[in-house]
Structure formats: structure tokens, C-alpha cells
């Protein structure tokens, strides 16, 4: 997994998004075992407390679960993964709309662009 952090969003929130993306894209398939908190923290170059917080949040959202002694795993629940995909897509759409709005694009212009690569 590639770890890049930027801007003003809290680090833990950026980790949550990065892991979510890895799960949705299949890089971390359903049932895959996650590395330990310390290994992940080392890999991402972040504070272990921050990594722990991100994993707890992913757990709260149902994307990963903990087996008491055996570690942390990606959920096998396809519905949860689909919901995460929609949520991430919603975020990208919002970013897209903001950027296009700044360019002065109307929704109809955007649709034309998306559908046909047409000049607007």
C-alpha cells in the first residue's frame, strides 16, 4: 500500500480513506489479514496511536473486524464494501463538481463531456 499524506485533513482520517480505497479496489480482498498496528504504523511512517485510531474507526464502520488473538481482517460482507465504494465515489464526485464549478461548467456541459468527450 502506498501512503501519502497531505493538506489539513487529520492523519487518521487520511489513513481510513487509504485503507478503504484498498479494500474497495480489491488490493485488500475480503477476508485478508491486516498487518499489526506497529507494522502498519512503521510502513506509513505515522504514530502508532494514530494508526490505532484509524483502525478502530474502520472497525466501527464495519470494514474490518478483530479476532481476539488472531489479528485484524477485512470484512467479507459485500454490502459493507459496496457502501464504502459509494461513499468514496460520492467524495470524488463532490471534488469533481467543485472543480468544474470553478471552471464555470454547467451540469449539462459536464454530462456532455463525460458521455462523448465532446468539445464544450
Amino acid at each position: 500500500m502506498e501512503w501519502r499524506f497531505d493538506g489539513g485533513a487529520p492523519i487518521y482520517a487520511q489513513i481510513v480513506d487509504a485503507v478503504k480505497l484498498a479494500i474497495v479496489s480489491g488490493e485488500l480482498p475480503p477476508g485478508a489479514r491486516l498487518q499489526g498496528v506497529r507494522e502498519l504504523a512503521m510502513e506509513a511512517g505515522v504514530n502508532p496511536n494514530t494508526m490505532q485510531r484509524a483502525l478502530s474507526e474502520l472497525e466501527r464502520q464495519g470494514l474490518v473486524y478483530t479476532l481476539r488473538t488472531a489479528g485484524r481482517y477485512v470484512t467479507g460482507d459485500e454490502a459493507v464494501i459496496r457502501a464504502a465504494r459509494r461513499e468514496l465515489a460520492g467524495g470524488y464526485v463532490e471534488t469533481f463538481l467543485t472543480a468544474m464549478g470553478r471552471l464555470g461548467m454547467e451540469k449539462s456541459d459536464m454530462i456532455k463531456l463525460l458521455e462523448a468527450d465532446e468539445e464544450v
Binding site: F5, G8, A9, M42, G45, N49
Partner: protein, 231 residues
């Protein structure tokens, strides 16, 4: 109980107030950035915590005690400048640290030195500046201390060495220990910090969890620092 607590802590050098009524407490299990521009009082604060200076007013307490023999057992200190005898080799240093500190874990130090391919038989003066600094950090981090006080651990080293230092801090971190590191290179360290303390002209101007600052202000700690300390 807080591992480190300052109460109305002041230190003057003649007419210069290096620290002026500093109040804060640091809990166990945190990695804390002591951030401020040059001359803001960072090194003075760390020296006070080590008992190398005495307060002009107020108190600094480690585990509720004034700095002294007992607190030095719990505190592992990386000074701003190298303090190690240059004629010693890393192997000799490990013996030296083992004699001085009951909590020194030689196996940990050996493993880190081996990973960096540092010749443990070479005298420090024959190592590069970067390797000398790494040896010193390894000695400091190989202690099983409760409080690590690192004064500018990443100043003056290249980006790869910076990564090594930060990963050493993360990998040696244990949930009951606290790390306080001073620096003015915020962008490099902000990912590893739980809390930040901004210090300027001897006063604490901001103390908060790093992610909380990012969340509330929508900016990186580095950006916030640049705004607070705009010249």
C-alpha cells in the same frame, strides 16, 4: 500522573528571559512535538528537565519529582550536540551505556547498528557525521526509559537519515513511554506526533493534539506553525 509537568516555569539568563511562566503537562504514551523557532526556549526547557539547568522560578517535575538522580533513571536524553567521547567505538559505548543505565538494552542497540551496517569497532571520530548522530540516537533509544527527550534529533541529517530516525522512534515506541522531540522542521515530523506544543519567546502559545488542530483548522501543523510564527 503526568510524566512531565511544568508549573509557572521560568528561566532567565541575566536579563534574558528564556522561559517565561510555562505551564503544561504531558501524559504517558504520547509522542509530543516541542515546536518553535530558533531561540524560542526549546533547548532551555529540555535542559531544565534533565537537571542541567535550574529554574529561576516555578517548577519542572518528572513523575512528580524535581530532576535529580531518580528522574535520570527514567529519562533518556539526546542532546542537541554530540556529547559522546569521540575516541570510543560503538561497542565501547554500549558497554558505557550498559554500566550507566540499568534499562539499557544492548541487544536492541546491536540490532539497530547492524541494520545500518555501522562498524561497531570503529571509533566515533572515524565515522561520518551522519553515522555519529545515528549511533548517539541508537544509544538513547535503546534504553527502556519512561521519557525520551530528544533535542533536535532531525536537524542536520539527510532525508533518508530523517526517515530512519523517525522510524526508530516509532518502532521503539512503547505505549507506556513518552517521547518529546524538539524541532523546527515541522513538515517532517507532523505525521508521528500525538500532540504539539508551540513555544515562542519563552511562552507556550498553543498546546493541542495534532489531529485535532488539523481537523479544526483544516490545515497541516506545518501551515499553522508558519502562520503562528510569521515573521
Amino acid at each position: 500522573m503526568a510524566i512531565l509537568e511544568c508549573k509557572g516555569l521560568s528561566k532567565s539568563y541575566g536579563p534574558v528571559r528564556a522561559l517565561d511562566g510555562v505551564d503544561f503537562a504531558v501524559a504517558s504514551g504520547r509522542i509530543v512535538g516541542l515546536l518553535g523557532p530558533n531561540g524560542s526556549g526549546k533547548t532551555t526547557l529540555i535542559k531544565l528537565a534533565n537537571g542541567l539547568l535550574t529554574p529561576s522560578a516555578g517548577q519542572i517535575l518528572i513523575n512528580g519529582q524535581a530532576p535529580g538522580v531518580e528522574t535520570k533513571k527514567a529519562v533518556s536524553y539526546l542532546p542537541e550536540r554530540s556529547c559522546l567521547p569521540e575516541w570510543m567505538s560503538a561497542a565501547q559505548l554500549m558497554g558505557f551505556y550498559g554500566d550507566f543505565y540499568a534499562d539499557f538494552d544492548r541487544a536492541v542497540a546491536e540490532a539497530m547498528l547492524a541494520r545500518l551496517n555501522i562498524d561497531v569497532k570503529a571509533r566515533l571520530k572515524h565515522l561520518s557525521k551522519g553515522n555519529r548522530e545515528k549511533v548517539q540516537l541508537i544509544m538513547v533509544m535503546a534504553r527502556r526509559a519512561q521519557l525520551y527527550l530528544l533535542d533536535e534529533p532531525i536537524g542536520g541529517v539527510d532525508p533518508a537519515a530523517r526517515d530512519f530516525i523517525l522510524s526508530t522512534i516509532i518502532s521503539n515506541y512503547n505505549p507506556t513511554a513518552t517521547v518529546i522531540l524538539s524541532t523546527h522542521l515541522i513538515a517532517d515530523v507532523e505525521r508521528v506526533l500525538d500532540d504539539v506544543i508551540f513555544i515562542n519567546q519563552g511562552k507556550v502559545v498553543l498546546a493541542a493534539p495534532a489531529d485535532q488542530l488539523r481537523e479544526q483548522q483544516g490545515k497541516s501543523v506545518d501551515q499553522i506553525f508558519r502562520e503562528v510564527f510569521r515573521c
